[in-house]
Symmetry: C2
Subunit: 112 residues, 2 copies
DNA sequence: CATTATACCTTGTCACACAAGATATATGAC
DNA sequence: GTCATATATCTTGTGTGACAAGGTATAATG
């Protein structure tokens, strides 16, 4: 009881979209790949379940920030590849800016 | 239309409790005072409305992280003063740790 | 005396991270 | 052969918390 659910779940809010856009910046990637990458790195701090990621990707697509391409290999499960659009790059820049501003304000406060 | 609501609202999630605990660390304070302080400083980045803050304070009280004291001056509106408990100080330390870990992971990712 | 500032509280809305389910194919173990 | 695991996608429901928008009451100011 008293679960002590931690604040990581809340901390990710607003940051997750930025994380995904950033991961797509170097080139295209598919959903499962992003989940695996986030799970393996950063000691799981930025770990995300697939049930969380897929809605994010859908939102990004809906907003025009990513372009989607299906790839169906001769053997294997089809993959959905995501690639940043021009609008997506602008959004990435804007979110990075917002995130940095907020974090700087927090850091300044916590040091006072 | 297309409101572009920004991510600041989401970014505050999880951080706000930490902010309040931190502001109470030097000594007691009352709600309206905290709202004013946050509104005036940090270019409004960490600005909070009273409708947001009071529920936070209530949650902190409920969890035993703050102690509450009413002060009714001979003239003027009564104020509700909040002061950290020992459990509150531990929570402050724990949240600071969690926040720092998360932010470091994000910073590392964004630099890659 | 009407407005503004101080100081508190409540209700309803919205967004989103996540758990828990589901589907389908390929591979490896026994 | 079949049973489990890994790959890869998606959906539905739940809980949480920041906020808008309302409310009450007192003191100061023009």
């Amino acid at each position: 009881m008293n679960e002590r659910r931690g604040i990581e779940r809340e901390l990710k809010r607003g940051s997750l979209e930025l994380i995904v856009l950033h991961l797509l910046a170097p080139g295209e990637a598919y959903g499962y790949e992003i989940v695996s990458k986030l799970t393996s790195q950063s000691n799981g701090t930025l770990e995300v379940t697939d049930g969380t990621l897929y809605p994010v990707l859908y939102r990004l697509e809906r907003a025009g920030f990513v372009h989607v391409r299906w790839e169906t290999p001769e053997r294997g499960v089809p993959r959905k590849y995501y690639r940043l659009t021009e609008a997506g790059r602008h959004e990435l820049a804007a979110l990075t800016e917002e995130w940095t501003t907020f974090t700087k304000a927090m850091t300044k406060l916590l040091r006072s």
